[in-house]
């Protein structure tokens, strides 16, 4: 498929020059100049050695989490608090949560079940939100009449915190997972629709003129100009929506849902099992991080023609 380099800003490199192999974005071999992603490092005189590159790539990002872990451990030890478990206790709980064999209680060996349930709810609802929000955002961005028709309502609903919908969602969907799915879907919907509309609205009019001169019409204009130009904004919306989705699943699973990470966290809270609460938080954090990275990789693949948007 030949894609017009639609959204390349004035002064950007020529299309041909920016066609990097897809692998380059995710190259992990130490031989590759892995740190080239950071323009600041390009300015360093002599080229960084392989060891330094490796250190910067793998060790530097791990420093802050390790320091935080250490601070947490020290804080628990020095204060002698019984309200917050130490990192070691949480690690033991994570092990018991995953494979069992330590405490043999209601939480042992249940992580898989909870994780799968939450994953299916979060990504089911997220996909549904994206399916509704992206086309709607494209429409709002493209068509002024539709924008006038829908946008005010959208802006009225947007400031209402999604958590405030919880009582209503229970009335609509009853006590159970459907209320959670509705909340996640609603929460992810707004950032996606608003970012998509913004992306479409901000396409440079000159691009349309240029494309029209090259014989681009109707649907191909949409596919070859509007969509690529709006793609960075759509991805921003997806990433924001994805973060909110994980945030809301805990709220959604608070009531009447027996399985799910949010449900496990709530049960842990109710039973004064703070180690379960933190273990659940760790799992959600890691899952959210990995899926966000996947979104970034997808973003880089789809936007590899754009030097600006390779995160």
């Amino acid at each position: 498929m030949t894609t017009l380099n639609a959204a390349a800003p004035p002064g950007a490199a020529q299309p041909g020059a920016t066609r990097t192999p897809a692998r380059a974005a995710s190259a992990t071999s130490a031989a590759a100049p892995a740190v080239a992603a950071d323009p600041a490092l390009d300015l360093l005189p002599p080229a960084p050695s392989q060891l330094k590159a490796w250190l910067v790539r793998w060790i530097v990002p791990a420093l802050l989490p390790l320091a935080l872990l250490l601070a947490w451990d020290l804080a628990v030890r020095l204060s002698g608090t019984m309200l917050v478990p130490s990192p070691k206790e949480v690690a033991v709980m994570l092990k018991d949560f995953t494979v069992g064999g330590v405490y043999d209680d209601a939480f042992s060996e249940t992580l898989g079940t909870h994780w799968l349930k939450s994953m299916s709810r979060v990504y089911g609802a997220f996909a549904l939100a994206a399916l509704l929000a992206v086309p709607l955002g494209l429409l709002i961005g493209k068509n002024a009449l539709i924008r006038r028709f829908i946008d005010p309502t959208l802006q009225l609903l947007r400031p209402v915190p999604v958590t405030a919908w919880l009582p209503l969602s229970m009335i609509f969907f009853g006590v159970g997972p459907n209320a959670a799915i509705f909340l996640v879907c609603l929460g992810a919907f707004f950032p996606i629709v608003i970012n998509t509309a913004f992306g479409v609205k901000s396409v440079e009019p000159r691009l349309f003129e240029a494309a029209a001169m090259l014989g681009c019409k109707g649907t191909s204009m949409f596919r070859q100009v509007v969509l690529p130009a709006a793609m960075p904004s759509i991805f921003n919306g997806l990433r924001l929506g994805h973060g909110i989705a994980w945030f809301l699943i805990v709220v959604g699973e608070m009531t009447g849902v027996p399985e799910g990470l949010g449900a496990a966290i709530m049960d842990g809270r109710m039973l004064s099992r703070t180690d379960v609460v933190i273990a659940g938080m760790v799992v959600i954090g890691l899952t959210g991080f990995v899926t966000d990275r996947l979104l970034v990789v997808l973003n880089n693949r789809l936007l590899k023609w754009s030097p600006q948007h390779n995160a």
Binding site: L83, V175, T255, P258, S272
Partner: protein, 312 residues
């Protein structure tokens, strides 16, 4: 420049003057009391009547026993009223929660849908039962199941907070629930539920809510604890002796219609007196929770109960 300096100087002077001019009488000692939004958590609303000069009561309502217990261990409130189960769960995990006295007994009921066709306890098998983890009701229900030769896996337990149980049953989200008053009375009054049983036949009996505080308060402020427990005794006796006032308070604080409050009050005893029977039942409770692996070790009863400060 000079005007600005003058302005700042005069503002500072007037602020100082205002702070000095404030009435210089000593402020009352505020006693913060956390309780639950239940009819058997109503006693603190009567404390005002019996608070001696120099003290002021502030009542903070909570939705779940765990929240009230957490407010105690984080010193967000001075005293807490919540289920014994939440206290034992906290103390077993090493949290500094201390039981001072009983607060209320009863207030529990296993309610089934009026049209659910559940006729006896065994009829709950395979049904969706609303249950609040960490509540006294949960501990008692598990015990009742054991007595009937069942386990928690025989029912589909659904986590619902006390205030949502009656609504969930009405909507058909659950078939039954193990609730706290006024929930059961609301279901019965509306004709959507009937009481399957009041689960008081276990070794725990009808022991339910207790009065707790932070371990530091017992050590550092024994006088405050004594004053408070005396207020608690007078208010409990008053509320039990004046049914009309109790119903009026339930209406004012929980928004309960008289009919519901009347029914609910029949299932509740507001108490304050520590006796051997109550202490023994509390300890039975801990043993049952340990047996069921709800806790990993028993609380240290020596420090968990500080019942020596209350009126005899």
């Amino acid at each position: 420049m000079r005007t600005r300096r003058l302005l700042i100087a005069s503002l500072t002077a007037s602020a100082l003057a205002c702070s000095l001019a404030l009435p210089a009488h000593a402020a009352d000692t505020v006693i913060k009391v956390g309780t639950l939004k239940l009819i058997h958590g109503i006693t603190p609303y009567f404390y005002d009547k019996f608070t001696p000069a120099g003290y002021k009561i502030e009542v903070v309502p909570f939705e779940t026993p765990t929240d009230a217990k957490n407010a105690v261990v984080t010193k967000s409130v001075d005293f807490g009223m919540h289920g014994l189960a939440a206290g034992i769960l906290g103390a077993a995990a090493g949290e500094p929660v201390v039981v001072l006295a009983p607060m209320s007994n009863g207030g529990m009921a296993i309610v089934v849908g009026a049209k659910s066709g559940i006729a006896d306890f065994k009829g709950l098998k395979g049904k969706r039962v609303g249950l609040l983890p960490g509540s006294t009701q949960e501990a008692v229900f598990l015990e009742r199941m054991k007595a009937e030769g069942m386990t928690i896996k025989d029912v589909k337990s659904v986590r619902v907070s006390f205030s949502e149980m009656a609504g969930a049953l009405e909507r058909g989200d659950i078939d039954a629930y193990v609730g706290a008053e006024p929930g059961p009375s609301i279901s019965v009054t509306r004709g959507v539920g009937k009481v399957l049983e009041h689960p008081y036949s276990t070794p725990v009996g009808s022991v339910n809510m207790v009065t707790t505080t932070h371990a530091d308060t017992v050590k550092g402020k024994p006088e405050l604890v004594k004053v408070f427990l005396d207020i608690h005794r007078k208010a409990s006796e008053y509320a039990m002796a004046n049914r009309k006032e109790l119903l009026a308070m339930a209406n004012a604080k929980l928004g309960l219609p008289a009919e519901v409050a009347d029914l609910a009050a029949d299932n509740v005893k507001l108490v304050w007196k520590v006796d051997e029977d109550w202490l023994q039942r509390c300890k039975n409770y801990g043993s049952l929770m340990l047996e069921r692996k709800q806790i990993r070790r028993l609380p240290d009863y020596g420090s968990f109960f500080a019942t020596h400060l209350g009126p005899k």
